[in-house]
């Protein structure tokens, strides 16, 4: 019986949780309303790159796009918010993301640029 490395088992577990979450969907649950804005000023922990496997895919070829190496960077000091904005705290996650970023994590700027040079929008 083949054994799988911990990263694969962790990813498989994550897949199972997502599948469970998918099955339990009934729409948006208002878990957010009572939560105060908690903009953290703590520095991020060093992320651990996690290889993802494709347990249900037909052995897709791996992508060739370069994988962004996680970089530890200081977090911006929090900005005073005129309106509290709720944050989403995953209740059932294993925390592989928040406690150790994966190859899916972008790299924040060290110095914030207030002037956007472009914007992200839904295609029209």
């Amino acid at each position: 019986m083949p054994t799988h490395p911990p990263s694969q088992r962790r990813h498989a577990a994550a897949q199972a949780r997502v599948a469970t979450a998918l099955l339990s969907l009934g729409g948006f649950v208002g878990i957010i309303g009572a939560m105060a804005a908690t903009r953290t000023t703590a520095s991020t922990t060093a992320p651990v790159p996690a290889e993802t496997s494709a347990p249900t895919a037909p052995a897709p070829a791996s992508t060739t796009a370069p994988v962004q190496a996680p970089v530890q960077v200081p977090v911006q000091a929090s900005v005073q918010m005129p309106v509290p904005v709720p944050t989403i705290a995953p209740a059932t996650s294993s925390g592989t993301g928040s406690s150790g970023a994966s190859r899916y994590a972008g790299t924040p700027a060290q110095v914030f640029n207030q002037q956007p040079v472009t914007r992200s929008y839904a295609s029209r």
Partner: protein, 314 residues
């Protein structure tokens, strides 16, 4: 791919930006489902036979299958039949207000797609349609930015229809400064936030764009839930994701949009990506790790967003 594109190149020799534009045109000609001679269109017409395709299309199909697998099927590149049956049959710019619903027997079936990088062939199961959707735009942005940096650019941004990738030095030249990226709020003229990103991708999915009235009189949009085969209704109006690469951001934006805020938060935490979600009633929800990308305050209030939503709906 039915979208506008913006290319920003920092510190490069002349001609590099023009090469990027030509490269995007190349990828459009290979991947657009609205061009009958594209490889994606020919693949959909291949009748279940293996078809030799370019390396770019091998990469696209492989990436789409990676995304399908990683999201447990929430992102599915084979919902083409449902998209057509919902009425999205031509490029959105050409879509009438109430398009006729297409009659097609195309079905989902990503699990049966075969990719052979050695023979450079892709084989779709008979009756399965392939539609890369937003992943094509995100992947194009990733590829072109990588090629710009490899070609000598100090920094680059490629934005294809709102799915974008940035890398390297930002235009203002301040050491450590990232790329400022506004996040669209569909309920407001003001952005929902401005992200500071040194390297990564951002993508937004919204049911308030690319929408139309179906032949049955019901409102429809292009974000199909593969579980139901109909436009998704998860309580979210828009989802913006920050990830390492634009195709990843697009994949997660689609998956979170389909699954809703609760399951979406779990998904994002597992992947280590950050998200800004706007609920149907206009409230803005953020993952905790988004704070490291934010430097200003979202201006909209729920009450203001509701008013704006009414204007959008009217």
């Amino acid at each position: 791919m039915g979208s506008d594109a913006v290319v920003i190149v920092v510190g490069s020799r002349p001609g590099l930006a023009e090469r990027a534009r030509e490269r995007l045109d190349d990828l459009e000609s290979l991947w657009s489902r609205f061009r009958p001679d594209s490889e994606v269109s020919l693949l959909n017409a291949s009748g279940g036979q293996p078809m030799e395709v370019s390396g770019e299309t091998i990469h696209l199909v492989s990436t789409a299958l990676d995304a399908w697998s990683a999201t447990g099927g929430a992102y599915d590149p084979t919902v083409l039949g449902d998209v057509l049956r919902a009425g999205y049959t031509v490029s959105f710019e050409s879509l009438p207000a109430t398009p006729a619903l297409a009659r097609t027997n195309l079905r989902i079936g990503a699990g049966g797609i075969r990719v052979d990088p050695v023979s450079q062939t892709v084989q779709l199961p008979p009756g399965v349609g392939f539609d890369p959707g937003g992943i094509g735009k995100g992947l194009a942005a990733d590829m072109v930015v990588a090629e710009l940096i490899a070609g000598g650019a100090e920094g680059a941004c490629v934005n294809v229809g709102g799915d974008l990738r940035v890398a390297g030095r930002a235009p203002d030249g301040v050491p450590g400064a990232g790329w400022g990226i506004g996040v669209e709020n569909p309920f407001s003229e003001e952005p929902a936030g401005v992200l500071g990103l040194a390297d990564g991708g951002v993508a937004t999915s919204s049911r308030l764009r690319r929408r139309w009235t179906g032949g049955d009189g019901k409102a429809a949009h292009h974000l199909i839930d593969p579980r139901t085969g109909t436009p998704a209704d998860s309580g979210l109006a828009a989802v913006t994701i920050v990830a390492a690469q634009a195709w990843q951001a697009e994949m997660l934006a689609k998956a979170v949009f389909l699954t809703g805020a609760t399951a979406g938060a779990v998904l994002l935490d597992d992947f280590g990506a950050a998200g800004l979600l706007i609920a149907d009633e206009g409230s803005i929800l953020k993952t905790t790790n988004l704070s490291s990308f934010l430097g200003d305050a979202p201006p909209s209030t729920i009450a203001g967003a509701r008013r704006a939503r009414e204007e959008v709906a009217s």
